[in-house]
């Protein structure tokens, strides 16, 4: 294979992946924040430590933070993941099991027309790191 064709092919792989990561990072930083209530459970994940798998609880979420006070249900996936350190998973799982005593919310970066990106997990209105130490 031609030297330049090979260079272009290898560079394409890198640039595509690097570009994708930058788009995600830009969306995460630049989009307005919205807060949605969630309910969920904690399965296992091999390579990424543990994560919370949750569903958005639209009934408990405040739709007034969106345009026309309507929740854009179709723009959000049915379930999502929030990654947490492995050693905190058991404690967080325990809190999720007793979710009727606590409120769980996800802060999203969301702009209509783009994919919402989860940024923070809140427990009783505070970042989860402040609750589980």
């Amino acid at each position: 294979m031609n030297k330049y064709t090979m260079l272009v092919a290898l560079a394409t792989t890198f640039l595509f992946l690097f570009g994708w990561m930058n788009v995600i990072a830009f969306q995460s930083r630049s989009g307005p924040e919205v807060i949605l209530s969630v309910k969920g459970y904690d399965p296992r994940d091999l390579l990424s430590g543990h994560y919370i798998r949750y569903q958005i609880d639209w009934e408990k979420s405040n739709c007034r933070q969106f345009a026309n006070s309507r929740c854009p249900v179709q723009d959000f996936a049915e379930s999502g993941r929030f990654y947490i350190p492995e050693d905190k998973a058991v404690a967080l799982d325990g809190l999720f099991s007793s979710s009727d005593q606590h409120t769980f919310e996800i802060v999203y970066s969301y702009k209509p027309g783009s994919i919402p990106i989860a940024k923070k997990l809140l427990i009783d209105g505070q970042e989860w790191q402040k609750i589980i130490k």
Binding site: M1, K3, M6, L7, A9, L10, A11, T12, T13, F14, F16, L17, F18, W20, M21, I24, A25, S28, R44, L46, L47, S48, G49, Y51, R53, A77, S79, G80, R81, F82, Y83, P85, E86, D87, K88, I117, A118, K119
Partner: protein, 327 residues
């Protein structure tokens, strides 16, 4: 420095083998047609030899990633991402250098590493930015991003891995679930039907050769393997991971012993590769903790690489012994 027993992976090994067998022909130990047969067999074994070594490297790499993941929280996100892209760009640069200088171990090895690293980087970005649980989208992105690598690679292994990744990305999960349910209801019937389809596709691509009886025999082998694999899936699905693992490994071990008795070294290597692969799958199934899995992967990868090294060393010693006897 690469251990001597891995030399067969380098291009030079083929040159050495040609030179060595040429000497044997000149010494009248073998005929020239036997020399061609030896060279053809060595060439055909390359894929699985590469496969086993790359699987070993993959295990060790995955083990290291798991160990890093175990202490993940202490590393800042920017360092994680920077490190991943730095590793990726280095692998791509080294694969370019290796392919340009015609050093297949470096070129193809780094290309394979870059292929895996793309998948790992997608997973990493997904984790840092909490990108949901759409596995098909991640696989599709992996397939699209690594397509240029598949085109560049002269080994079939990356292509063979790329096809199921792309298929999984393109075919919706419901499609796979329907196939799985069909098998669990009609295991023998569906295996026969899928086996026949595979046979038709293989025939269309000219992959099926030999006599009709030979074709039937090969078909039965494939069906037997397919049934064991699907049976293993079903057992795992019912929480019987270890039973599935033991049955499959026993089956493959018996097949390997039969291969040794028949002197079928190609099938022998294929079965060894499948045993090593099944061991890797077991770690995914019985996940305990990242640190434990990491150590397990590093040890397994080490055992796989040591086994290949030992196997090649025995082969080299036998060749030297054969030559010594002649002298």
């Amino acid at each position: 420095m690469l251990p001597h027993a891995f030399w067969p992976l380098l291009k030079g090994h083929k040159v050495n083998l040609r030179k060595k067998t040429q000497n044997w022909v000149e010494d009248k130990i073998i005929t020239s047609s036997q020399q061609e047969a030896i060279l053809a067999r060595e060439g055909s074994q390359d894929l699985f030899r590469w496969g086993i070594v790359l699987l070993g490297i993959f295990c060790v790499g995955l083990g290291i990633i798991s160990m890093i993941a175990a202490g993940w929280d202490m590393i800042p996100d920017s360092v994680k991402l920077g490190g991943a892209f730095l590793i990726l760009i280095n692998l791509l640069i080294f694969s370019f250098v290796g392919l340009q200088k015609k050093i297949p171990f470096l070129g193809e090895g780094c290309l394979f590493g870059a292929f895996l690293m793309c998948g790992a980087t997608i997973g990493l970005v997904g984790q840092i930015f909490h990108l949901g649980d759409n596995l098909s989208s991640a696989l599709l992105l992996w397939a699209v991003v690594t397509f240029p690598l598949v085109i560049i690679s002269r080994r079939r292994l990356i292509g063979l891995l790329w096809i199921p990744i792309a298929l999984d990305g393109f075919v919706p999960a419901a499609g796979w679930r329907a196939l799985y349910e069909l098998y669990s209801i009609y295991p023998i019937g569906s295996t026969l039907v899928f086996g026949s389809w595979l046979w038709v596709i293989a025939s269309l691509f000219g992959l099926v050769q030999g006599t009709f009886a030979g074709a039937i025999r090969k078909g039965l082998y494939i069906l037997l393997y397919a049934n064991f694999i699907f049976g293993d899936f079903l057992l795992s699905d019912n929480g019987m991971d270890f039973i599935g693992f033991i049955i499959t490994v026993l089956f493959l071990t018996v097949a390997t012993i039969i291969n040794i008795r028949n002197g079928n070294t190609i099938a022998f290597r294929q079965n060894l590769f499948l045993i090593a692969l099944r061991l890797v799958v077991l770690y995914f199934q019985v996940f305990i903790s990242l640190a434990f899995t990491g150590v397990g992967f590093i040890l397994s990868g080490g055992v796989i690489l040591a086994a290949v090294w030992g196997w090649n060393k025995i082969n080299t010693n036998l060749s030297i012994q054969m030559k010594g006897d002649k002298v």
